[in-house]
Structure formats: C-alpha cells, structure tokens
C-alpha cells in the first residue's frame, strides 16, 4: 500500500522553508536590498573606523579628516537616498500585484 501523504522531499522542505521566510517575490527582493544596505553600511563604517588610526601616513591630516569625518555621514545620506528609491519602486510593484 502506498502512503496517502508521501514524506516530503528535501527539496520540497527547503522550498517551504524559503516560502516561510520570504513570503513574496517583492518582499524577497526588498529584503535583499535591505540586507545589502545594512551590510554595506556596517562594512564601510567598520573598515573606515579600523583604518582611521593608520591614515596618518597618507597625506595626513587632510585624508583622515575628510575621509572619516565628512565622508562617512555623506555616504550614509547617499545610501539612504539610493536604496530608498529602489525600495519605494518595489513597494509600488508590491501594491499593484497584491
């Protein structure tokens, strides 16, 4: 006798899991964008801060000053602008499809 409900394959399980985490194509894309934004934000901040003490040699003091102090906050502003635009586009698409 064959079982009425065959055990789900591994592939099927993974698909279900993915569906559970990402509940729509738009959300998946949006979530990716958010993840990219956060990773970029974190990496750039951390790398800049870790390197800052050693920037003395590279055209000190202007390089360190401009790169760390003026560069980082302006980078945040650009990141928010660019990613927000992309996310808003996706949101519109999401609204149309749902």
């Amino acid at each position: 006798m064959e079982p009425v409900n065959p055990p789900p394959s591994t592939e099927h399980l993974i698909e279900n899991l993915t569906d559970h985490i990402f509940d729509s194509a738009q959300w998946r894309q949006k979530r990716k964008l958010i993840a990219y934004a956060c990773v970029t934000w974190f990496d750039v901040t951390l790398i800049t801060l870790l390197l800052a003490p050693y920037w003395r040699g590279w055209g000190y003091p202007l390089t360190a000053f401009y790169s760390v102090i003026l560069g980082l906050p302006i980078f945040y502003l650009v990141l928010i602008y660019v990613l927000n635009q992309q996310i808003l586009k996706l949101s519109q698409k999401y609204e149309k499809t749902s």
């Binding site: 559970h20 985490i21 509940d23 959300w27 949006k30 979530r31 958010i34 934004a37 956060c38 934000w41 901040t45 951390l46 801060l49 870790l50 800052a52 003490p53 920037w55 003395r56 000190y60 003091p61 202007l62 360190a64 000053f65 760390v68 102090i69 003026l70 980082l72 906050p73 302006i74 945040y76 502003l77 990141l79 928010i80 602008y81 990613l83 927000n84 996310i87 808003l88 949101s91 999401y94 609204e95 749902s98």
Partner: protein
C-alpha cells in the same frame, strides 16, 4: 505655515542679527539683549503653540498624519538635535579631539538603521505609540485571534488584543528612557537661560519650563511639529551665522566650509607648536604626577582617606591657632566640607579626579586624526563600540520613532528620514569647524598671555557657576602665563562661549544661546509629548479606562505632560551630571531594550511574545550591570570593562545579549501564527 512664511522667518532672524551686530549692539546692554532674545524666541514658539492648539486626539497625538516628508524631516532634525548636540558636542570635540567624532558618526549612522529597518514599518502599522506596536506585534500566545491590518484602528481594539503585559513593559521602558533624556534637556535649558539673562540656574529652569509647556501643552504633536520647524531654523542659523562671522574675520570668507584647508592648516600649525612647547610639557607632567597620586591614594584606601582627612583637619587647626587670615580659614573649611565623607565616597570622587587629570595629562587632542596613544591603549575599541552603540540607540529612541507615525504615508516616512539626515548633517558637519576656529582664537588671543590681563569673558565664565565651574583657568606652574594645558572648558560651555572667545558682537552670543534653547526645547517637547501620549494612551486608556472619550484622553495627556515636566525640572535643578552622560545612558537603554525586538518584529516572523519580553529584560540587565561595573560615579572602574570599552557604550553588550536571547527564546517557544497577517501587512511598507 507655508514655505514663504519660513523664508520670511529666516530673513527676519538674519536681519535682526545683522542689525544688532553692526549698529545697535553698543547701545543695548547685555542683559537687555539676553532678555530680548529669550522672550522673542519663546514668544514665537508660544504663538505657534497657541495657533495650532487642538483637542482632537489624532491631531494631538499624530498631527493628523499629514506632515510632508520635508517638513517632517526638519521637525525630526530639531527633535533630534538636542542640548547634548548643540551645547555639549563642541566641548566634546575640544576635550576629546578625534575621539569626539564617535558621536558625529554614531548619531548620523543610526539613521541608516532607522530608514531601512524600523521607521517605514512603524508608519505602515499606522498605530499611535511604540508600546502600541509591541502590543500588536507580540500578543500573548493565548490570544489566538488573527491579527490583521485593521487593528490599526485603535478604536476597534478589543480587550484581548490590548495585550496589557507587553504594552505595560514597553510603556514603562519608553517612559524611563524619555525621562532620563528629558532631564538632560531641561538641565541644558536652565544653563542657557541663566547664561542669557544672568539669573540663577534653578530659576532659569522653571522659566524655561514655561516655554516647553506652552508649545506642547496646548497643541500636542500638531503644535510641536511646527514649532520644531521654527526651532530648527533658529538653531541652524545661529550656528552658521556665528561660523560665518568668525570665518569672515580671520579668512575673509563668509562660508567657512570653503576655507576649510586654510583653517585647518593654521590651527594645525599652532597645535604642533603647542605640543612641543617645554612649558606645556611641564603642565602635562604635573597632571601625570596628579594621576599617580590619585592612583596611590585609591590603592591605599581606606587608610589614605583617614590620612587625607587628618591632613585637612591639622591644616585648619594650624591656621586657627596661628590667627591666619579669615579668607584662608574659610578656604580651608570649605575644602574640608568638600572632602569625601567616607572611604566609599572617596573612591568615587578620586576616580573621577583621576580620569580628569589623565585627560589633561595628554596634549590638547588633535581634531584631525586619532592620537597614537589611543591606538596603543586600546581606546580605539571603545571608539568603535561607542559609534555602534549610538547608531543603534538612534534607531530605537521612542520620541524619534513616534515621529514616523506623523508622516502622511510610508513614502513620506522614508523620505523624511533622508531629509532628517540632510538637516542634521548641515549642523554636524559645521560643528568641527567652529571648534577649530575657537582653538585658533584661543591660540592667538589667550595662550601665551599673562594671567594679569585675562579677557572679560574668562572672568565671566569662570564665575558663572561656582558649584560646577564651566571654565577653569589655573596657573599650574606658577609662571603667570596662560598655557593651553591650564585652560579647562567643561563640555557644556565651549559652544555658548564661542562668540565671546572670538570677540564677536554680543548679539551672536544671544543668538547662539537662543539656538541652544531651541535645540533643548524642541527635544524636551518631543520627549514630554511621547511620555504623555504613552501614559494616556497605553496606560490610562488601555489599563484603566477603556470607555473614556478621546477628549478626556487628551486632557489626561496634558495633565501627565505637566506633572512630568515639573518632575523633570525638579531633578534637573539637582544637577544630576553632565548632559552627555545622561544622553549616553538614554541611548544605551533604548538600544538594549528596543532595538533587537523592533528589528526582529518585521524581519523574523517567528519572533514572539516570550522572546521579546526576555530580550528586553536581558538587554536591560546586561546594560545596567556593565554600566555599574565601568562608571566611576557608581563605584565602578573603567579598567573593569571588556576590551577597554567604557560605560558610554554599555548598550552594545545589551543589544548583543538581547538578540541572542530573542533568538533562543523565540525558537524554543511556540510560534504565534496569529500575527502572520500583521507581519505581512508591515512588510508591504
């Protein structure tokens, strides 16, 4: 209030400043000018408060959710730029040098987290307060009704959905954070009013309280939004006009940002000279000896405390027996009165003095690059930890999150974060310039001059607050010449004193004080309204009186606002510490309590009630423990910290602990599918 009115307002402020700066300033006494600026600005805020008064609940709590992205951004920027930013950050830059930039990077970087992870989703929830959000997203497991987007209409919330435990926990946490923050703001307001008018600090606090109440009491969020727009304009104009004036004076360029390299090169040259000066090195050596002395005394406690006390008693008796002058006896008595009462108090007082002496034993810190000894001493970890703690704190402050609810829609909420950061950067990127210009002034007008010919502003600022001096000038090596190491500015005085240091007309001092007042008032208003909204909506309405009509809730909110404002003013009058310290505590608390749960609420469907409660409790506990362990004021020692991370970044450990706890507890407890629809609704943002 349209754009034309705002342009007219800016023009008016510039005209008044230029008029009194060029023509009338000699004819008008300082006190009159101070009173004029105090009452003129308070009058404008009061008019806005009265004009936008309301008893409509939506207008009172959320400004009817019809604020555009640009205006909401400007109001949020004013809400954000607090007394700590306006008054104390310049002092931090001066005293800490490059290390002070942790605040700039941290406070601006947090807006990325706010924009991507929190604000749009809060707006999408269309609720009223932060505890409201927690109550809807994390209901108790027994509440198995499906929670859909319609929950956003608060009038339809039934008792089950009120989720009292979660609501109350989030409400109390929000009130605690806002209250710590508001005490710091009111302390700043008192400082400014006493500076503007010359009246006593405590009276200054209660006068300014009237200014706070007149904005928020009558019109709630609707009035606050518009007064915050005006307050932002005043504070940014105050900074830019002062900067432009000093820059024009020295570099013939009214836009100092364009004269950056010139300013930098000149200040840098003077600082290098100062570092190599033998007299400066002598001062630093004396501070180093002081550090060793305090260290020795702390290690030898309680014996050292007894010895020191005996020394003071012996000296006093000796003076009395030898019929010394009245002044000397009085001084010795005052020293004895200030001496720690027991060895426990001695640890706290001497640790604080040790840290201050250690700070002064370094040369005046460089603004353009981190000092080499910071890297060697491992203080760089503290810098990075502080940056991240401030970033996370920024994204979880209740009064900033509340502003997301006031935007017209999600699109406006996203845009408003961009504008907020834009307006904040306009301020933050100008601040280091002011500090450089002040340093340049000090090097050219004060350092190297005789103690007998000190400028008037030095005498004024050293005597303004005798209990907690804002400026110390002590001839450490007895050569009667002022050295850089002998000038000690408190963090809270440099910005307010900047126009006088640069010998600018008094109108600019009054304008800077008015700007600082605007910064402190705008933040205090936002914080008090957040507390009042939470008390009336989440505690009074949901806990005690579900049948109360909206008008009654607005009245309750106004009463709470009044009581909280009075209580905060009373605490501020006790001088609870410096502004930056209180702000750091508020950031650490908000980061550790709210951030993990706020992010996981949207990003992780499985995040549930138990995970949230545990994450909040563990985050708070870890933060408080780390703070007590490392803060000298509570008997801790900075040396007890992990990787030399100080008390200012205590929240970082709380956040990490909060995320881990949330993940573990939510994974091992049953998920709550009832919230799936609500999460799906949030994710459409």
């Amino acid at each position: 209030m349209n754009s034309r009115f705002l342009l007219f307002f800016c023009g008016g402020v510039i005209f008044i400043t230029l008029f009194f700066g060029y023509e009338g300033y000699r004819a008008i006494p300082r006190e009159t000018m101070g009173y004029l600026f105090l009452f003129l600005t308070l009058g404008v805020y009061a008019l806005a408060g009265i004009y936008f008064r309301t008893t409509n609940i939506n207008e009172y709590y959320l400004a009817n959710r019809n604020i555009s992205g640009l205006k909401n951004g400007m109001a949020t920027a004013a809400d954000w730029i607090s007394a700590a930013s306006f008054i104390s950050l310049a002092g931090q830059f001066y005293n800490l040098g490059f290390e002070g930039y942790a605040y700039l990077i941290g406070w601006s970087g947090g807006f990325c987290l706010l924009a991507f992870l929190v604000a749009p989703y809060l707006r999408q929830s269309a609720l009223y307060t932060l505890p409201d959000f927690f109550a809807h997203r994390f209901p108790r497991p027994s509440q198995n009704k499906t929670l859909g987007p319609n929950l956003s209409s608060h009038t339809n919330i039934d008792t089950d959905h009120a989720n009292l435990n979660m609501r109350l926990t989030a409400a109390l946490a929000s009130i605690l954070i806002c209250f710590v923050y508001v005490v710091a703001q009111i302390y700043g307001v008192g400082l400014i009013v006493s500076r503007l008018t010359g009246i006593d600090f405590t009276i200054g606090i209660f006068i300014a309280l009237a200014g706070i109440l007149v904005c928020s009491f009558l019109g709630g969020m609707r009035a606050i939004t518009w007064t915050q727009v005006l307050q932002y304009l005043i504070l940014i104009l105050a900074l830019l006009l002062t900067l432009g004036w000093i820059s024009m004076k020295h570099f013939s360029n009214p836009i100092p940002h364009l004269a950056y390299t010139q300013i930098l090169a000149k200040t840098q040259g003077l600082e290098i000279q100062n570092k190599n000066d033998s007299k400066e090195n002598e001062i630093r050596y004396r501070y180093e000896l002081l550090v060793l002395d305090y260290q020795k005394k702390i290690n030898a406690l309680p014996q050292s405390w007894r010895e020191e006390q005996n020394k003071h008693l012996f000296r006093l008796n000796h003076l009395k027996q030898n019929n010394a002058s009245f002044d000397l006896i009085k001084k010795a008595e005052a020293e004895l009165a200030q001496f720690p009462k027991n060895s426990e108090e001695a640890v706290v007082v001497w640790q604080k003095a040790l840290i201050e002496a250690r700070q002064h034993s370094h040369s005046l810190n460089d603004l353009t690059a981190p000092a080499n000894n910071d890297i060697r001493e491992g203080r760089w970890f503290n810098f990075i930890a502080l940056v991240f703690c401030l970033m996370i704190g920024t994204a979880s402050l209740p009064h900033i999150l509340t502003r997301s609810y006031t935007a017209q829609n999600v699109r406006a909420a996203r845009k408003s974060i961009f504008w907020t950061l834009f307006f904040i950067l306009l301020f933050y990127l100008s601040l280091p310039l002011l500090v450089m210009l002040v340093k340049y002034e000090l090097h050219t007008q004060l350092i190297g001059f005789s103690f007998d010919a000190l400028p008037n502003w030095v005498l004024y600022w050293t005597q303004l607050d005798r209990k907690d001096p804002l400026l110390h000038l002590l001839d450490m090596n007895g050569d009667n010449i002022v050295q850089a190491g002998e000038i000690i500015f408190s963090n809270d005085s440099l910005m307010l004193a900047a126009p006088e240091i640069a010998s600018l007309p008094f109108v600019l001092s009054a304008l800077i004080a008015a700007g600082a007042l605007a910064a402190a008032l705008s933040t205090a208003d936002g914080l008090l309204l957040s507390i009042a909204s939470i008390c009336s909506h989440d505690i009074y309405f949901h806990l005690f009186s579900r049948e109360s009509v909206p008008r009654k809730r607005v009245t309750v909110s106004k009463l709470v606002l009044l009581v909280m404002a009075m209580l905060a003013a009373y605490l501020a009058s006790l001088r609870p510490g410096n502004i930056v310290l209180l702000v750091e505590i508020a950031f650490s608390l908000s980061a550790s309590i709210f951030f993990p749960s706020l992010v996981l609420a949207v990003m992780w469907r499985r995040a549930n009630y138990y995970g949230t409660l545990w994450a909040m409790a563990v985050g708070l506990l870890v933060t408080v423990c780390y703070f007590f362990l490392t803060y000298p004021g509570t008997g801790g020692s900075p040396d007890s910290g992990l990787l030399d991370i100080g008390h200012g970044a205590a929240g970082l450990f709380g956040v990490i602990a909060g995320f881990i706890t949330h993940a573990i507890v939510s994974s091992v407890t049953k998920p709550n599918p009832a919230t799936d629809q609500f999460v799906a609704h949030l994710r459409r943002a």
